[in-house]
């Protein structure tokens, strides 16, 4: 792609990532969540791949590294579910505690990020996972259709 497209993409990626993080972190208050935010950030990765080409991206980002991030995100999610096993698996054990424990008043009210128990943390894990996973697939497809086989 031309230099203009590359420059604009490089600037734009910042906003894409910030918007994605916003959607992830506000997931339990406004429409959104881990999956949506992760997909937004992954679309930023797609933008970079389209703008600068997969050959250039691969000098600093490989799908193997992304898949490590993905595993970590999935592990974070399942560990948060495990953490509730004192009562029951998937128990929302943070409700009422200091960390994200605030309970919103019943009925219509302005949203507060500091609520939701484990939901924001799970959103974060899922967001990490989806972001890394989708970027890895797109990168792998781009590299492979560019004629290259992936390494072990």
């Amino acid at each position: 792609m031309s230099k203009i497209v590359r420059t604009v993409a490089n600037q734009l990626i910042l906003f894409v990532v910030i918007f994605g993080l916003y959607v992830i972190i506000q997931g339990h208050v406004t429409p959104g969540g881990g999956f949506q935010g992760g997909a937004i950030i992954a679309s930023g990765a797609v933008l970079l791949i389209v703008a600068s080409g997969s050959q250039e991206i691969k000098t600093w980002l490989r799908e193997r590294r992304l898949s490590v991030v993905e595993s970590s995100g999935a592990l974070l999610f399942i560990l948060l579910a495990f953490a509730g096993i004192g009562t029951v698996f998937f128990f929302n054990f943070l409700v009422g505690s200091r960390l994200f424990g605030g309970i919103p008043s019943v009925g219509p009210n302005p949203g507060d990020v500091w609520t939701g128990g484990v939901i924001p943390l799970m959103n974060l894990g899922v967001g990490l996972k989806v972001m890394a996973g989708l970027s890895a697939v797109v990168l792998a497809l781009a590299l492979f259709s560019g004629g290259e086989e992936l390494e072990e």
């Binding site: 997931g27 406004t30 969540g33 898949s67 993905e70 998937f90 609520t115």
Partner: protein
């Protein structure tokens, strides 16, 4: 060819069932809501979340979401596996 007939019979079946289903469905816009009303009423207390859909996703039906994340994980692992190079020798 036989596969074609298998599929065809499946489709004919599906089409009839679906057309049948349309005429006896509950009317649009007035669904029964035994389970959902409980969730709408109690999500703010039990899951401490203003977003009821998020409460369903991560609290009431969190296990589904874990499964869904696992599906994505499996697909990504599978895609990377399918696109990998087989440099070393195949089993002989």
């Amino acid at each position: 060819m036989r596969q074609f007939f298998g599929w065809l019979s499946l489709v004919v079946l599906m089409v009839f069932l679906v057309i049948g289903a349309l005429f006896i469905m509950r009317p649009f816009g007035e669904p029964p809501s035994v389970m959902d009303d409980y969730i709408i009423d109690n999500a703010q207390e039990e899951a401490a979340s203003n977003n009821v859909v998020a409460a369903v996703l991560f609290d009431y039906r969190g296990f589904d979401t874990l499964g869904e994340a696992t599906v994505l994980f499996a697909a990504v692992t599978g895609a990377l596996l399918v696109l990998r190079a087989s440099h070393k020798k195949e089993e002989t």
